[in-house]
Symmetry: C2
């Protein structure tokens, strides 16, 4: 694919992300994507043959980006506490913008496929966080915590907040309290 | 309402609970309820005028039951650790049965109403847990934790698990690790 093709593909993914975040998975059609991107049916189909395929490409992109993050920073020898702070403030900004969440779309999409794709995504999150926490324990910056416990607390309390923040207006205080608890468990002596 | 009427009402709520848990909120119609309960349209409408009304009655019932739980046990002077263990094992059994969860139905229902009902429900959960934790701190059974932090960790990690357990098969180990972490924060010296 040439540079122009790459750009169009990226544009389709960006536009579709917003559509899925707003409407969920089931309600978005290829026609919606065509109209919002402003391209012909033929043009869109030369890149993707279904909304499932677009959605999978988005998930892949998110997962890859996530997976890279910690790895490269650890390699650079950036302190674990610094990586953690950055990651937690990223979680916080995501918690604050429920309208950007693919949570519901992911749920709807998951009903249409076997669960392998979703398990892969979940495992990738687990591995990524486990790596950071082990790194911090090794450098002596983090307490000698039970890694699985903390990873699950991080992942699932975050998911719970994202879900509920689409249902009720949530307070900054709630996000902070969860992130404070995680940081406290890792670093408070 | 006579005893027979009460029984019919309870029966409608029980049957509808299963329908909502299975199908979500939007896909359940009054006709579905009639058919599953095995009653006439007129019979059903003499109790409830819409699926929203049925759903609200279910939420009310759940919330009331929840709210009572800790209160009466605390009044009886049952040790906080004992109440906690019972509550955590209840959460665990709920985590193990995602098919019984109203999570998705609640999300769909919430899109159809203003968010007051949901906020009320959420607040009731917060109050209930905060009461138990404060009680345990007072009796000296629990650590002097930050109450809001722990309450949010409990509520949202639980919600996150319930949501994801409908998307991917989840392991007992994951549930245990979250509940262990909560217990550890409260009781480990």
């Amino acid at each position: 694919m040439g540079i122009k093709g790459e750009k169009t593909r990226e544009n389709i993914l960006d536009v579709s992300y917003s559509l899925f975040a707003e409407k969920g998975f089931k309600q978005v059609t290829m026609k919606d994507v065509c109209e919002t991107v402003g391209m012909s049916r033929g043009g869109l189909y030369s890149h993707f043959s279904s909304t499932s395929q677009i959605f999978e490409a988005i998930l892949e992109k998110i997962t890859e980006k996530d997976a890279l993050d910690f790895e490269s920073e650890i390699k650079k020898g950036i302190p674990a506490v610094q990586i953690l702070d950055k990651a937690l403030s990223l979680l916080k900004s995501e918690m604050k913008h429920p309208e950007d969440s693919l949570g519901i779309a992911i749920y709807e999409y998951a009903q249409t496929v076997d669960s392998d794709v979703m398990e892969e995504m979940n495992k990738s999150g687990e591995k990524r966080w486990a790596k950071l926490i082990r790194y911090g324990i090794k450098t002596g910056e983090f307490n000698d915590v039970n890694v699985n416990e903390i990873v699950n607390i991080i992942l699932y309390s975050y998911q719970g907040v994202r879900m509920w923040s689409r249902i009720i207006p949530m307070k900054q205080k709630t996000f902070n309290s969860i992130l404070d608890n995680i940081k406290r468990q890792l670093t408070e002596r």
